[in-house]
Amino acid sequence: MKRDLLLFIAFSLLIMVAPQFFEGGYLMNVLVFVGINTMLAIALNLLLGYAGQISLGHAGFFGLGAYLSGVLTTTYSLNPWVAMPVAAITVGFLAGLIGFPILKLKGHYLAMATLGLGIIIYIVFNETVELTGGPSGLSAIPNLQLAGIIFDSDVKNYYLIWGMALAVMLFSINLANSRVGRALRAVHDSEIAAQVLGVNARLLKVQIFALSAVISSLAGSLYAHTMTFISPTSFGFNFSIELLTMVVIGGLGSIYGSFLGAALLTLLPEFLRGANDYDIIIYGGLLVVMVMFMPGGLVRGIPALFRKVVEKVGTGHA
């Protein structure tokens, strides 16, 4: 408990001083997106890593948040700070509603159903042209403002988004180590045993599905207000897969793992800049290799690898 808190404080401090090292540079901009992706990866991880329920449609919830915020603040001139919770509650409610039938499904079937859901949402973004601007996108979404500060630069957005992301992290760490979090993990390990102990597995899964959608929606709203422009392509099937990759690479059921996965996958294209056409292969290859050789993700795999190397070196000398 104490250790968790210390770790979190250390992590937060690191995040907060980080901008001192690359103030103003392009990396700041990438780090803003690392923040948004961290929120999304945590949202998916709560569902996939803790509750053991897969979703291949999370880009849809992310998009719903972004579009609701975007449309409410442009067409209906709502204050962004009002639009954001309105969007989140709406998305949470919708997710809860669809959650009951969809979470009855298991494994591959759940994967396909959520995938279908994501694609339907994507098509709706494309087709409701009067509302969303359709494939051409929605522009002139206002930046967030707080006490006279307009969040329109990378540095300001960095603090805004990482503030939110850290809050989501703390929220999730607390949740994971609580009565509800334990019940969730119990459902993941043995649904039947959890039920016998009085855990309403179905309700719990729906709750987490809705919570996960709410966090994704918040990330979507922040994305919309940071980018000030959104179009459907950012919320397609590919992005759902990218999120899944982040969670798996980082480590299922680890909040810091989600951060690692999000950071790696957001920064990776920067390293691969020279290998334009090859990045899709590296991407697919990474997914395959991780599942095969490091099923616990980076957050567990790296320490294990380290131990192995230390052992090898140790025995080598002996």
Partner: protein, 251 residues
């Protein structure tokens, strides 16, 4: 305490249970025995709401609980353990037992995540309670070990501790001695008796006759889906039908 009346289960044309009726009185240790395929585990699954029977009723403390899902039965203070222990392997031993206290705590999702004062104090209470049950089962030294890595025998004890943490009035155990060595079985017998002393009704399915005869107050014998006999251990041992159908069979 628990009353089974006319429970019938048909799986795709095969009758697994045929109008089984018996009752369990409060504070007893009741054993359900029978050869393989007698329908013991099926019966347990029906009582605990995992299967839904084709016909018949289950009454818990006089209340008709037929068709209730397992989580609702848990709230009515009935819990069970499994034949192939179902531990939460990704969690520590202590956390496993803490899940057992689920019905005895109430903090919701938001309260937990936002660390509301009442949820913090509840968490403290859960931890304390769970520790107590670990001590009761004699495995408190394993509290911080991952449950996935402990020996099988300890896993049994953990599963029982976890079930007890739900403060049940009745506990059903599916073959608690399966896979245990004789030393561990002796310990188990002691534990089950201590559970009864807490005024918890125990129903168990078991193959280990020695154990059953030693600890049970009453025994129900199933054979091929029907009830064959019911009585005290002595009565069962002397029943000619049981000897013919079951004890004669060297199992």
């Amino acid at each position: 305490m628990l009353e089974i009346s006319g429970v019938t289960q048909i799986f795709g044309g095969v009758t697994a249970l045929d109008a089984v009726s018996f009752s369990v009185s409060k504070g007893d240790i009741t054993g359900v025995i029978g050869p393989n395929g007698a329908g013991k585990t099926t019966l347990f699954n029906i009582i605990t709401g995992i299967y839904h029977q084709t016909a018949g009723k289950v009454l818990l403390e006089g209340k008709d609980v037929t068709g209730f899902p397992p989580e609702r039965l848990a709230r009515l203070a009935m819990v069970r353990t499994f034949q192939n222990i179902e531990l939460f392997g990704g969690m520590t031993v202590l956390e496993n037992v803490m899940v057992g206290m689920h019905t005895k705590s109430s903090s919701g999702l938001l309260a937990c995540a936002l660390k509301m004062p009442w949820s913090i104090s509840e968490e403290r209470r859960i931890r304390k309670g769970a520790m107590k049950w670990l001590e009761f089962s004699g495995i408190s030294d394993l509290a911080d070990h991952p449950a996935g890595g402990i020996p099988f025998g300890k896993g049994r004890l953990l599963e029982i501790a976890r079930a007890l943490a739900a403060l049940p009035r009745i506990i059903l155990m599916d073959e608690p001695a399966a896979g245990l060595n004789s030393q561990e079985t002796l310990g188990l017998a002691q534990l089950i008796k201590r559970i009864r002393d807490l005024d918890i009704t125990v129903v168990l399915v078991e193959h280990d006759m020695e154990l059953v005869m030693d600890i049970c107050d009453r025994i129900v014998v199933l054979n091929l889906g029907s009830k064959l006999a019911e009585g005290t251990p002595r009565e069962i041992q002397e029943s000619p039908e049981v000897i013919a159908a079951y004890l004669g069979d060297d199992d």
